[in-house]
Every structure is written in structure tokens, then in C-alpha cells.
């Protein structure tokens, strides 16, 4: 962007000042302060207490389960997201719009219902639940249910970030590659993916943050068994309800850090795309 000239539609300096101050003030009170309070509360009893809280064996157990959930749910998400984005961006077919709505569906469903559906499907009172449990397949109140619920809530993330990028890129590059003799897979790996790397990365970051931080859906299916079905957000809730506020806030800082990293990745991707466009 070159030097800005003064436009007749530029707001007067007073208006600019007041509105900017208002926006910063609202953001500070509504979002900034709560985050600051998490960090301050986590460190209230000193760095040593903080480190003790986040290295507590139960916290480590919760972290391990959270990492397992992320390690399964995010790759599943990537496979479906890439497939869906390819089909929906590069082709036109009847029912395309309906399919996009279906992909968005988990965004509209309450997290509690996202958990409930798996209790109804696999729980002890469901059609197949008793059979599964008799054969040693525990899904509800077990890590499998937590993973399923997480896949459900994170389903749209990668597809939703990738779709606009693939749509904007059009089909000509891929068609050129195919005409030059590349196979379909070569075209995807060497032409499509390099151009959509940023969007994919942003989608994966968002899916990871949500998978690690999902609370409502996971809360329904987990059964809150410490050391077995406790993820980090559930562990935070337990600590909080036991009035271990600084412990809860200490564990919460781990997830705050993850959220900030996610936003940083998305910001870098956007900045990169803006530079490419310029």
C-alpha cells in the first residue's frame, strides 16, 4: 500500500480516537482481562507451585490422553477435509450445496448433543452397546468415545479452511499438469497442495486447538475417570470444582498457549497470502 491521501470519507481524528479507544477498551475488559487473570492466578503461589501443578501425575495423564485424542482426530480430519475440499472445490455436481451444509452441521450442534449422540449409539442401553461391551469394546466412558466425539466436533475445520483456497485456485493449474503427463496423485502433491499449504496448516491448527480443548462433548462421553478418561479441559474442571483455583488456572495456561500458537499460525498464513497477492 502506498502513502494514504486524505479522503473526504476519512473520519475526523476525534472520532478515530474515540472509536479506537472504545474498541481497545471493550476488548481489554471482555477478552484481555480474563486471559490476564488466568496467567496471574496460575502464578499466584509462585513459579514452583505452577510447575508442580502442571507436572502433577494426574495432569500428565490428562495431557497424554489429550495428545492421543489429537493424534487420532486431527489426521482423520485432514483426510476427510482434503477429500471434501477437492471434491467440492474442483467439481460441480448435484447435491454439492447440501453436502457443504452437512459438513457445517457440527458447528450448529451443541457440544453436549455431540456427546449425547455417541452415548445413545454405543452406551449400555443402546442397540449395539451391550454386545460391544460384552466383547470388551468399551466406547462410552472410554478413550474411544472421547475420540469419536472429538472427530464429530472438529469435522468441518480442515474442509472449511481448504475449500475457499482450492476454489480460488481454480482448475487450470491441475489441468495443465495433467496435460503435461502428470498422474492425478503427482498433480495433487506437486501442484494443488503447495498452493494450499497455508490454508491446510491453518485448518490443522484450528482442528488441533479444538480437539485439545473440546469440553462439552467430551464431558458427556468421558465419565470423568481420573487417570483414564480425563482430558486436559476435564481435568481443569475437576481441579476448579475442588477449589484448587490456581491449579486449574495453571493447567489452563497450557491450553491458552495452544490457542495463541494457533492464532499466530493463522496470522502468519494470512500475512503470507496477503504478500503473495500483492
Amino acid at each position: 500500500m502506498s502513502r494514504r491521501r486524505v479522503r473526504p470519507t476519512d473520519d475526523p481524528a476525534v472520532v478515530r480516537w474515540v472509536l479506537t479507544a472504545l474498541a481497545l477498551g471493550v476488548f481489554g475488559v471482555l477478552v484481555g482481562l480474563p486471559v490476564a487473570v488466568v496467567v496471574a492466578g496460575a502464578l499466584r503461589h509462585g513459579v514452583e507451585a505452577y510447575l508442580r501443578a502442571i507436572t502433577d501425575p494426574l495432569t500428565v495423564d490428562a495431557l497424554q490422553l489429550t495428545l492421543l485424542v489429537v493424534a487420532v482426530a486431527v489426521p482423520v480430519n485432514i483426510v476427510f477435509g482434503v477429500a471434501a475440499a477437492w471434491a467440492l472445490a474442483k467439481f460441480d455436481f448435484p447435491g454439492r450445496a447440501a453436502l457443504i451444509t452437512l459438513i457445517d452441521l457440527p458447528f450448529a450442534v451443541s457440544p453436549v448433543i455431540s456427546g449425547l449422540v455417541f452415548v445413545l449409539l454405543f452406551g449400555g442401553r443402546s442397540l449395539i452397546g451391550p454386545w460391544l461391551i460384552a466383547h470388551g469394546w468399551h466406547i462410552v466412558f472410554a478413550p474411544a468415545g472421547i475420540i469419536l466425539a472429538t472427530v464429530f466436533v472438529t469435522f468441518p475445520f480442515v474442509a472449511r479452511e481448504l475449500l475457499p483456497a482450492l476454489e480460488a485456485a481454480g482448475r487450470t493449474n491441475e489441468e495443465a499438469a495433467l496435460v503435461c503427463g502428470a498422474t492425478g496423485w503427482q498433480t495433487f502433491w506437486r501442484v494443488t497442495l503447495p498452493n494450499a499449504r497455508g490454508a491446510l496448516l491453518a485448518g490443522v491448527a484450528l482442528a488441533t486447538a479444538r480437539a485439545a480443548g473440546e469440553f462439552g462433548a467430551v464431558s458427556v462421553v468421558s465419565g470423568h475417570i481420573r487417570g483414564r478418561t480425563n482430558t486436559l479441559p476435564l481435568h481443569i474442571e475437576i481441579l476448579y470444582n475442588e477449589y484448587d483455583f490456581s491449579g486449574a488456572l495453571a493447567v489452563a495456561t497450557l491450553l491458552v498457549a495452544l490457542a495463541l500458537v494457533t492464532l499466530a499460525i493463522r496470522w502468519a498464513v494470512d500475512a503470507h497470502a496477503a504478500r503473495d497477492a500483492a
Binding site: 477478552v31 476427510f80 460441480d92 479441559p233 491450553l255
Partner: protein, 280 residues
């Protein structure tokens, strides 16, 4: 670009993966809720759906979501305007951090908001002394929902405002309109579909929101109990039928909203030639 024939491969593979994944992970599980509720007798279903406790929870959930989404409209306009039109130190940081409520785990948001607004908190204490308790009241529920909804509205408006540019307003100014006339007759009407889309997205999210609300709500039956929490409570009491019945009501509202949203987004696209919002 018109499509002549499919030179690109992979439609059958990717489409079957997409449809298969959707059926397996989304459609079949969701159908279970409806199928389970169909097993209930009409009387049983109605007793669960229309109990005084359930009615009170819908009233709070719909009411607080509506107020919060409406409050997000002016706030969203403020943030979108400042971020798009002004240049100030920290603008890019604010632009990135505005998504924080979306990226933050809901349980963390809930605890953080409660710590600030509870009667022992930094802001809750002076407010409670002034006779305005926030945490553990409907006001606290609304506050949490504003927090959650804000990024949806800001992100719906920003791309439209950015694409609008200064030219239409300059044309208005050149033709002799006052600044207020220009804003009221040119800018706001153009932004309206995007604002409504954002508000609907925020409302849809607020309706089902659980984690950021339960800590600050107080969760008293009939008073500060949101519908998603009622589902949770009924599940913990092993009242699967009751939980499912309330879930059906909430799901029906969400589907209806999704349809309205699709219409609103098509409207925005028609009016401005672009799609609003990337996060919803």
C-alpha cells in the same frame, strides 16, 4: 469458468470418502437422537419437553442467546470498522487476537470469565457492591455468550467492509450527502446482510454453548440453568429419554437456524459478490 468435461481425476474417490465420512461420523450419530426420541410415547416426550424446568431452560437459553447476539451487532460493527478503516499501533495484533474467544477452549473461557466477574473478582466485586451481581445470574450467562459470539460477527462484517472500500462513500460525499446520510444510506445497508449473518452465527453458537457458560451461570434449576446443561444433568441422572427429548428441541432450533443462515449467506453473496465469514 464453464466445465466441459472432467479432465481432473479423483472425484469418485474424494466424494465417496466425504460422503462416507459424513454418514459414519455425522449423519448416523445425529439420526440416533431422532430415532431414540421416536421410541418415546407422545405423552412421555411431551412431559420431558414441556416440563416447567425445561421451559425455563429454553427461555434462558433462547433469551440470553438473543440478547447476546443482538449486543454483538454494534460491538462487531465497532471492531470491524476500527480494524478495517483505521491504522494504529497494535492493529494487527488486535486483528489476530479478536479470534481468541473462538480459539480458546470453552472450559478455560468459562473459568477465566468467572474469575473476573464473580463477587470476589476484579470486576465482579465492585459491581456486586453497586448492586449488580454478574456471575451466577442471567447477566453472567449473557456476558459469556457475548464473549463467545463476538468473533463471529466481526469476521462476518470485515471482508464485506473491506471489499466495499471508500468509493461508494466518496461518491455519496461528492453528490452532496452529509457524512451521516452516507453512512445511513450507503454503508450500513450494504453491511446489513453481513451483520445479520454474523448475528445469526453468534446466536446459533450461543444456543448450544456449554463450557464457557456453566461456570459463570450458577446452574440453578428454573433460574440459571441453560438447556444444554439440562441435557447434561438428565444424562447424569440416567434419564436418557428426558435428555434426548430436550436435545431434539435444541437440534430442531439449530437446523432451522442453519437453513436461515444459508439463505442469509446467499443474500450476502448476492448483495456484495462475496462470502461472509470464514469461521462459522
Amino acid at each position: 469458468m464453464r466445465r466441459r468435461r472432467d479432465a481432473l481425476p479423483g472425484l469418485s474417490l474424494t466424494l465417496s470418502l466425504t460422503v462416507g465420512g459424513l454418514l459414519l461420523f455425522i449423519v448416523v450419530p445425529l439420526t440416533t437422537v431422532v430415532a431414540t426420541s421416536a421410541h418415546l410415547t407422545a405423552g412421555r416426550f411431551w412431559a420431558a419437553v414441556a416440563s416447567p424446568r425445561a421451559i425455563a431452560s429454553y427461555r434462558l437459553s433462547f433469551g440470553a442467546s438473543l440478547v447476546a447476539a443482538a449486543a454483538c451487532a454494534p460491538l462487531g460493527l465497532l471492531f470491524a470498522w476500527v480494524l478495517t478503516r483505521y491504522r494504529f499501533p497494535g492493529r494487527r495484533l488486535l486483528d489476530a487476537l479478536i479470534d481468541l474467544p473462538f480459539a480458546l477452549p470453552t472450559a478455560v473461557s468459562g473459568i477465566a470469565l468467572t474469575t473476573v466477574w464473580a463477587q470476589t473478582g476484579w470486576l465482579g466485586r465492585p459491581l456486586a457492591r453497586a448492586g449488580v451481581p454478574v456471575a451466577f445470574t442471567a447477566a453472567g450467562v449473557t456476558l459469556a455468550l457475548i464473549f463467545i459470539g463476538l468473533p463471529f460477527v466481526v469476521r462476518a462484517i470485515m471482508p464485506v467492509l473491506d471489499a466495499l472500500g471508500h468509493e461508494p462513500e466518496e461518491a455519496g460525499a461528492v453528490l452532496g450527502a452529509s457524512r451521516w446520510q452516507t453512512l445511513a444510506r450507503i454503508t450500513l445497508p450494504t453491511l446489513l446482510p453481513a451483520v445479520l449473518t454474523g448475528v445469526a452465527l453468534a446466536f446459533a453458537r450461543a444456543l448450544g454453548e456449554y463450557g464457557s457458560v456453566v461456570f459463570i451461570a450458577g446452574n440453578l434449576p428454573l433460574r440459571t440453568e441453560i438447556a444444554p446443561l439440562l441435557i447434561m444433568t438428565k444424562l447424569e441422572e440416567y434419564d436418557y429419554a428426558g435428555a434426548t427429548a430436550v436435545a431434539v428441541v435444541l437440534l430442531a432450533a439449530s437446523f432451522l437456524l442453519l437453513l436461515v443462515l444459508n439463505r442469509a449467506q446467499a443474500w450476502t453473496a448476492e448483495r456484495t459478490g462475496m462470502t461472509a465469514s470464514r469461521i462459522g
